[in-house]
Symmetry: C2
Subunit: 331 residues, 2 copies
DNA sequence: CTGTTAGCGCGTTCAG
DNA sequence: CTGAACGCGCTAACAG
């Protein structure tokens, strides 16, 4: 196992010189850089990330904090896509990532969390699925001890940044596209919202409210709590009295659609997220397709900026309005 | 940020004494042990995993290698459950885990993989979703450079071990339970197998073959490649001519069930794995429910054994035969 | 532009 | 049973 010392000996230079070449430091002559790189190649040397992390405090160990919502194992796709994007990008940027689930932090105080992350030499934290109920983690954000990038929670300052899509606009657009499928004018709309404690819920609500206003529609807002069953019950109760059902998540859209099918009525339903499960609803449905892997990639990139001393300014990414059905996914 | 040095000072002992307490070394008086533990509590000290990994070569940084099968985003639940179990148990045992997806290793040679893991100070690797096609990783196993624990691939020696369930027996049992739902004797059975390159496929096949033999049934074996669509096509072709359809995965069972519904025939169908999606098939179905999180926990525990110098002997875990339907999951 | 010298925080002999 | 001393592989001042 070749170490930096071996490379230095092989190239006939000092250890620190090798280190400087590795980290792209400025004051190195092109000649020695070549020489060192040649030795690195020859010995098949790969720098030891652990030692690097221990030595330089600034170095890039980051935690990927994932909130696995107990309500929906079927929405696991989202978490996994986050991870896929984040871990891939991190490796590309040479950052070491520790994956942490919310459940592993449960019951911990802010100080305990700080100790935990510090003990792991973690300096940056990316958070997926933060809700307003996670007060301890929100406190952690406010303390600004670590560089943090939040997904779907717009907070930005010197140590914090975020990545999300324009929720209000997306909610507006998917409703509009769904309405336009029909030529008959709609006048009544049922909106099944998420949880009050979600950061996206009020934004999406704004979107649908603007939509209802723009198109002069009567809006019935019900809380579905991102639950398939709740959405189903709401639809059973109000579905018949509206022209169209807009849901703040795919899972709820599935519940709503199932309710319609069971009542044997037809109402256009649309969802939000674009998970594969959507296709199992039984009928075609519109939804807002988010590219979660890409969102996570951008989050890591933004973390990299933050760690380089740049102030977070937040990143707004694109989405797509798509129409999904069973045959699309079964290949 | 309290370090081991602070703890030592606070407790009035040497650093090494604290270290010994932390690592449960024998020659420490109960009195000093108490004293040190008290200081640890008081200072909220958490050992720095990075420094520990650097210092002791044997120490526990392990990689969790996950194969995200491109075929089924909907089966993400399995991967995520593996991760949940593994990361939780690892934290409990004080092991540092690096999550790695197969896709990040694609195109790498064995030597490159070795370099990669070594550069991360990784000494143990847990592999989820290994197939016979992953020749490079199998070479890595044979080299025995790292301690490895394989899920569903029975290889055991000084540096390798595995965790799995009795595939043949489970396949037999789920078929039996499904048959017993009816009072009419069955004579023809359609088996939709997985991939030839899977390690579980031949085992499950053995199970169904024994079942067919024991109950004197005619067995039609078709390869479904774990594809929902393929299973659907197979069922379209052969479904009508059999009394019962046994599938080597839930996803294929869904495909088979959908085909039956479309052809408007009824045939009992059963699956394998117990993923939530199963409930979206449209009808009740039996399946083999595996506790993936627990499987992963055991894998980490076995890795811990391996790293302590114990020889791998493999671990066989339990499964459950369950009946799933939509209303079970919608809460 | 390059080499020397300290540590990072911890595990591990080996004297006492 | 305890503690001083050394080193893991690397980065980061500081000299030269």
């Amino acid at each position: 196992m070749a170490s930096i010392k071996d490379v230095a000996k092989h190239a006939g230079v000092a250890i620190s010189t090798v280190s400087k070449v590795l980290n792209n430091y400025p004051n190195i002559s092109e000649e020695t850089r070549q020489k060192v790189n040649a030795s690195i190649q020859e010995l098949g040397f790969v720098p030891n990330a652990v030692a690097a992390a221990l030595s330089s405090k600034h170095a890039g160990r980051i935690a990927l904090l994932i909130n696995l919502t107990d309500t929906a194992q079927t929405a696991d796709e989202i978490s996994l896509q986050y991870m896929l994007g984040a871990l891939g990008k991190a490796r590309e940027l040479g950052l070491d990532v520790v994956t942490v689930f919310f459940s592993m932090l449960q019951g911990k105080t802010v100080d305990e969390m700080v100790n935990y992350f510090r003990s792991q030499s973690i300096t940056g934290i990316i958070v997926c699925g933060l809700s307003k109920d996670d007060t301890t983690i929100l406190k952690l954000v406010k303390k600004q001890i670590f560089k943090m990038v939040l997904i779907d929670v717009p907070i930005a300052n010197e140590n914090t940044s975020y990545v999300w899509i324009n929720q209000a606009e997306a909610q507006y657009e998917v409703a509009k596209k769904t309405m336009e499928l029909d030529t008959i004018p709609y006048t009544r709309i049922l909106y099944i919202a998420g949880k009050d404690n979600g950061h996206v819920t009020p934004e999406r609500l704004k979107g649908i409210q603007k939509f209802a206003k723009d198109y002069k529609m009567k809006l019935n807002i019900q809380k579905g709590y991102f639950s398939e069953k709740k959405a189903r019950e709401i639809t059973m109760e109000y579905g018949e009295k509206v022209d169209m059902i807009v849901c703040a998540s795919d899972l709820m859209a599935i519940g709503a659609m199932r309710a319609c099918m069971e009542m044997d009525i037809f109402r256009p339903v649309c969802g939000f997220d674009g998970i594969t499960l959507m296709a199992y609803a039984g009928k075609q449905m519109n939804t807002v397709k988010q590219n979660f892997a890409h969102i996570a990639e951008e989050a890591v990139a933004e973390m990299n900026n933050l760690m380089s001393g740049k102030t977070g300014h937040g990143i707004v990414l694109d989405y797509e309005i798509v129409r999904m059905e069973y045959k699309d996914i079964v290949k």
